[in-house]
């Protein structure tokens, strides 16, 4: 079976997807949007029965030095148990500190100590869920001076030590590489292909600051050409994997997302070969 391409399920599209069941290889929800009962939950659950499904958490704060919040972990575990999704993921980042939640994917210094913290949190999460989870590379804006390893080294070590999968977000790779002046092709070097379980694609914004440009991961536009190129490289190098188009700012009509998913699907089927990009 070909690796499926799909979209992040967002509230403005829920009723339409529930009614029309458009052809999509995969749907992904944000766990934190579906931890409460509501008519939206009921619609999501109806839809879930008809698609391959992914639960993508944004708030587990796997890089938090204080460890995982037991109450939130229990709620996410109950959701995963109920939905039995094909994939479960969260990010290489932290968002909680001192009992407060920052609603952002905050960066980690890539040190041995931080690796120990993330491995411990991922172990606890996988134990609570009784399954493998995947960890996504974040978009980085800050170079953290006392990092002792690169992001891909950190991710590879994390996968090796915890047994977690890796969710490669091609847009985040592009954004991070631009902002921190890294060669994105080199970023891919040394990642363990067998650990990679999923790809994400999204658009980003270009901001002018301090006389240069900084890319912001705003999920507010179509996937850019450099990101499609990077995605092709990932597929060629690591193989096709389930792929999700994310769009969170200025969310367009559903057909726009379906079109992006179709383009991803063509690239997955072609093994990422560049001649498929014009399709």
């Amino acid at each position: 079976m070909n690796a499926p391409a799909g979209i992040g399920l967002r509230a403005p599209h829920l009723a339409e997807i529930d009614r029309d069941r458009p052809a999509l290889g995969l749907l992904e929800i944000h766990a934190e949007n579906y931890l409460l009962p509501s008519p939206s939950f009921a619609a999501m659950e109806r839809v879930r029965a008809d698609y391959r499904f992914s639960v993508h958490a944004v708030g587990l704060s796997l890089g938090a030095v204080d460890g995982l919040d037991a109450a939130h972990l229990a709620r996410v575990a109950a959701l995963v148990k109920r939905l039995q999704p094909d994939l479960v993921s969260d990010h290489l980042s932290w968002s909680t500190h001192g009992g407060r939640y920052f609603n952002d994917l905050l960066p980690l210094p890539y040190t041995e100590e931080a690796l120990d913290v993330v491995v411990r949190n991922v172990d606890r999460l996988q134990e609570a869920l009784g399954r493998q989870i995947s960890i996504e590379n974040p978009s980085c804006y800050l170079a953290i001076a006392h990092s002792t390893m690169s992001e891909p080294e950190f991710l590879s070590q994390l996968a090796k030590r915890s047994g977690c999968g890796l969710l490669l977000d091609a847009n985040n790779i592009h954004v991070t590489a631009h902002n921190l002046s890294i060669d994105p092709a080199r970023w891919l070097d040394g990642l363990p292909a067998a650990a990679i379980t999923e790809y994400h694609l999204a658009g980003h914004a270009v901001n002018e600051v301090e006389g240069g440009t900084i890319l912001i991961d705003d999920h507010g536009s179509r996937v850019g050409d450099p990101v499609w190129g990077l995605f092709s490289q990932c597929v060629e190098r690591f193989g096709p994997r389930p792929t999700v188009i994310e769009w969170d700012t200025d969310i367009p009509a559903l057909p726009v997302l379906l079109d992006e998913a179709r383009r991803a699907s063509v690239l997955l089927a072609a093994g990422g070969r560049h001649d498929a990009r014009a399709a």
């Binding site: 949007n33 587990l60 939640y101 800050l142 006392h146």
Partner: protein, 235 residues
């Protein structure tokens, strides 16, 4: 000198709050502010409509700096927003705004409440029925205000007809339910409040008559059943 991760994260958070740190930290600071203000706008749509998007972003931004969420479910963020608006009336100058926020919050809580099947009271004789203790639907809440909250809410809906709301048309008592809210008169409100306190229907009816001599038990009860105000029989 390498900080241990605990100290590093504490310093990062302090820089986020204090405006310090390097310039690019502002990307995270702005994202936190904007995304949480957006979450509050989703939860408080009537407040948002009344004050407008720009002013809402400003006051929500101030609230965010004072009260960050304590957990990641954003639909549960904003429990203190109404109190904040009440305390900061000088900021917006709208005496009814805090009560509107209470209504928005109650509607939010009710929307995200379980919806068990409504109470089945068929076949019960009036005598038996009056001896029963009913439970309000999960998430149901009585909201009292000096202001005509229902009229303010209606006038703030997208596509509502232009026109002034006569603030003298209060006070109001609203019963907020998963399906929306209903306006209650004094007798009906006393009836519902008594049920919420766990009294029998008979005791609740007495409370209704005591509050409002024109209280009509059958009409009130039928109306409440019609909007699925009751969850289940307790006994």
């Amino acid at each position: 000198m390498t900080l241990a991760l605990r100290e590093w994260q504490a310093a990062f958070v302090a820089d986020l709050a204090g405006g310090g740190g390097e310039a690019r930290l502002a990307i995270h600071r702005h994202h936190i502010q904007r995304s949480l203000a957006k979450a509050l706008a989703m939860t408080f749509p009537t407040v948002h409509a009344l004050v407008g998007a720009d002013f809402f972003r400003q006051i929500a931004g101030i609230f965010v700096t004072r009260e960050l969420p304590t957990q990641p479910v954003l639909a549960e963020y904003g429990a203190q927003f109404a109190d904040f608006l009440a305390a900061e009336e000088a900021m917006h100058g709208l005496p009814y705004l805090a009560d509107v926020a209470r209504l928005d919050w109650a509607l939010n809580v009710a929307f995200y409440s379980p919806r068990p099947s409504a109470a089945d009271l068929t076949g019960l004789s009036p005598e038996v029925l009056l001896s029963k203790v009913l439970t309000l639907a999960p998430g149901a809440e009585l909201i009292r205000s000096r202001y005509p909250l229902d009229r303010i809410w209606t006038a703030s809906q997208p596509g509502a007809a232009e026109g002034e709301v006569d603030l003298a048309k209060g006070p109001t008592c609203l019963l907020v339910l998963p399906a929306g809210f209903v306006r209650l008169d004094e007798g009906e409100a006393a009836f519902v409040a008594s049920i919420a306190e766990g009294h029998t229907l008979e005791a609740a009816a007495v409370a209704g008559f005591t509050a409002e001599s024109n209280f009509g038990l059958a009409g009130c009860f039928g109306r409440l059943l019609g909007c699925e105000a009751f969850a289940a029989l307790q006994q």
